[in-house]
């Protein structure tokens, strides 16, 4: 199994690397643009195919462990970069996105996971897939929003005007917030069916609530017409809260009695 993953990951990374190079040269030689796009997209397709293959092999959705969710992240985040380029003609985001995807695959290569087909009863629920996928896509969008915001901050420091960049980070955050809200509520509805109560202030739930509050704060600050340039800092940093929720909770003292530690690995 590990062998298959390594080769799929290397092929995907190569696609992204060559796609990025071609795209950089494509600024001078437009003929390179099409192959650059195909390769960048190809990387995600390779990961998508691997996920499908892995799903069949495992006999269950590969969404149980952190390593498994990183596969999805790696497949999805370059797509956001490409979408932003297509929609707003902003090309640089895709490089960050592909680098981030390669980084996630790299973590998985360094920490191979045990191939495990079992799925505990609580996770065998029709809510499992929608809840996790909605969250994943939300995280992908918010990661892209943070990267955009960070880029905006660096442009401000170099005194470049960039209102298009600010509306991209805002739009991504808005979409991310919508998905986060759905994820939170789906999680609550599922918890009621599986664990008996929709909300128990379990550490994982608490951190999910915190990250939701962070973006809720952002949206209202934006509405109140607080200086949009300053809000880029806020957006860039909000992602830290999300990261704690996603990876960090398992290491906090409060996690000892979490019912959601099955995702630990």
């Amino acid at each position: 199994m590990t062998v298959n993953f390594t080769s799929a990951a290397i092929v995907a990374m190569l696609c992204w690397a060559i796609g990025s190079l071609l795209s950089i040269f494509g600024r001078k030689t437009p003929a390179l643009k099409a192959p650059a796009f195909v390769l960048s997209l190809g990387g995600s397709l390779v990961m998508g195919a691997f996920i499908a293959f892995y799903w069949v092999l495992l006999d269950r959705p590969p969404l149980r462990t952190l390593g498994e969710t990183r596969l999805w992240y790696a497949a999805l985040i370059p797509l956001v970069g490409l979408l932003v380029e297509y929609r707003w003609k902003i090309g640089w985001l895709k490089y960050y996105c592909m680098a981030l995807a390669a980084f996630f695959l790299g973590i998985n290569m360094l920490h191979p996971e045990v191939f495990d087909k079992t799925l505990m009863p609580a996770l065998q629920s029709p809510w499992f897939i929608p809840h996790v996928i909605v969250y994943l896509v939300g995280y992908v969008l918010l990661a892209a929003s943070s990267v955009t915001a960070l880029h905006n901050v660096s442009l401000q420091m170099r005194h470049k005007n960039n209102s298009a960049g600010e509306s991209v980070s805002h739009y991504l955050a808005l979409l991310g917030f919508v998905l986060l809200s759905f994820g939170l509520i789906f999680g609550a509805l599922w918890a009621k069916e599986a664990w008996g109560h929709y909300w128990t202030w379990d550490p994982k739930e608490t951190w999910a609530f915190l990250s939701w509050l962070a973006y809720l704060g952002y949206l209202h600050a934006w509405r109140y017409k607080i200086d949009r340039a300053k809000l880029q800092w806020y957006l860039a940093l909000s992602f830290v809260v999300l990261l704690v929720c996603w990876f960090g909770v398992n290491y906090l003292p409060s996690a000892a009695n979490s019912v959601h530690t099955y995702s630990q690995s």
Partner: protein
């Protein structure tokens, strides 16, 4: 934002005043908590909590409508105060997300300030109350007069108001009990997490049968002296099946035969048995570098049959029961007037009975598949419909928000 420098508390009030006000509320909350020796907010039950909540809702909505032009009320229901309160709730939740929310020694710092039960502490309650007030005022201005374009705002804010307030104020009315019941027996006693004395329920549960389905057993190589388990070469959690090949350094294993339900036979060869009594047996071929190839039967064992592992040098190779895949209880529930209902309880498949929800919770883990005991959790939550109404309003608001977000960005692009 304000252009001219403005002194604190000089009108119009904005963020700094909101921050002061919020900080004051949080500190006051901690002071009350401390003064009450860490006891926390008193638990109010139906109908008093509903009355309080209703009064509070009506009061904040009518105050908003009546004093729509008052600068102070405008500030009380405005975004600056809302943002500060969101920040305070986030901060208090952060405490709850870092400090373990478990019982600690009474009289310790954590207990006195309620840090170990932050979500039922005074500072949290006070902040939530102010937040609901702020949200209620802002709602009043969008509710009266009602306009179609405000629907999204109303769904979000009223939905959250309802879900949050009913979730928190309704919490004392939540009844959550564990009912242990043995096969062939009936009980109407439930236990809470806090107390050893059982409470009687308005219905009884009869357990016909408890059954557990397992994943196939796992193949393990381990050192019996240290308990250390060696990882198989492919880093796979190996589930045994016929034809399986596994290997460790200098050791190859082939599973020649696998019988999921069998009992020991006379000639040493296991014989297939029925599901209830049978246990997994595997015939393995061991090929190791410095010994001759041999074949033997091994089994997981059960409370009635000894486990049998294969000796490989100083190590043991064995199969162990797989993790639980599903477990279920066939029950009959009956109320005091004799109304009966037969059902199968399973994780993720609770049943409803007389306003209670019954969940398959656990079993006697030591006996595993042979457990005669089922733990059933029973829950009564009269506030659930209200909280769900709030959830669905937020989701409806979300859909509109998503849709309008796209439209608005298209227009500005």
């Amino acid at each position: 934002m304000v252009d001219l420098p403005r002194r604190l508390f000089q009108s119009p009030w904005e963020f700094r005043e909101a921050a002061f006000f919020t900080a004051f509320a949080v500190i006051a909350g901690f002071a009350v908590q401390y003064a009450g020796l860490g006891v926390g907010v008193p638990q109010t039950h139906l109908p008093y909590n509903a009355l309080f909540l209703g009064t509070f809702a009506v009061a904040s909505l009518s105050a908003g409508v009546a004093f729509r032009n008052n600068a102070f009320v405008n500030w009380l229901g405005g975004i600056p105060l809302g943002l500060c309160l969101i920040f305070a709730i986030a901060l208090l939740s952060l405490i709850g997300g870092v400090v373990p929310q478990t019982a600690v020694k009474p009289g310790s710092m954590q207990a006195l300030f309620g840090l170990n039960q932050i979500f039922s502490s005074w500072p949290f309650a006070l902040t939530i109350l102010l937040f609901l007030g702020n949200l209620g005022l802002s709602l009043s201005w969008k509710l009266v007069p009602l306009k179609v374009k405000n629907i999204q705002f109303i769904l979000f804010h009223a939905g959250f108001w309802i879900a949050l307030s009913c979730g928190i104020f309704g919490a004392p009315d939540l009844q959550r009990l564990v009912v242990p019941v043995e096969e062939g027996k009936t009980t109407n006693l439930g236990y809470t997490m806090e107390s050893e004395t059982p409470q009687s329920l308005p219905f009884s549960v009869f357990l016909q049968d408890f059954s557990l389905e397992e994943y196939p057993p796992q193949l393990l190589l381990f050192d019996p002296n240290t308990g250390k388990i060696f990882e198989e070469r492919s880093k796979t959690n190996i589930l045994v099946h016929k034809g399986l090949k596994a290997s460790w350094k200098g050791l190859d294993i082939d599973v020649l035969d696998f019988i999921p339900f069998a009992l020991p036979g006379k000639s040493g060869v296991p014989e297939p048995a029925d599901r209830t009594a049978g246990i997994p047996f595997a015939k393995i071929r061991i090929t190791s570098k410095n010994a001759t190839t041999r074949e033997e039967w091994i089994t997981t064992g059960s409370p009635f049959v000894d486990t049998k592992d294969a000796q490989v040098g100083s190590l043991l190779l064995g199969i162990r029961p797989g993790s639980p895949k599903a477990f279920r209880s066939e029950v009959t529930v009956q109320d005091e007037t004799g109304n009966q209902s037969k059902a199968t309880l399973e994780v993720n498949h609770p049943i409803n009975f007389m306003g209670w929800k019954l969940y398959q919770m656990g079993y006697d883990q030591k006996s595993g598949r042979w457990s005669k005991l089922s733990l059933i959790e029973v829950i009564h939550d009269p506030w659930l419909p209200a909280v769900y109404l709030g959830f669905f309003m937020i989701m409806a608001g979300n859909i509109l928000f998503f849709w309008n977000g796209i439209k608005r960005t298209e227009e500005s692009a």
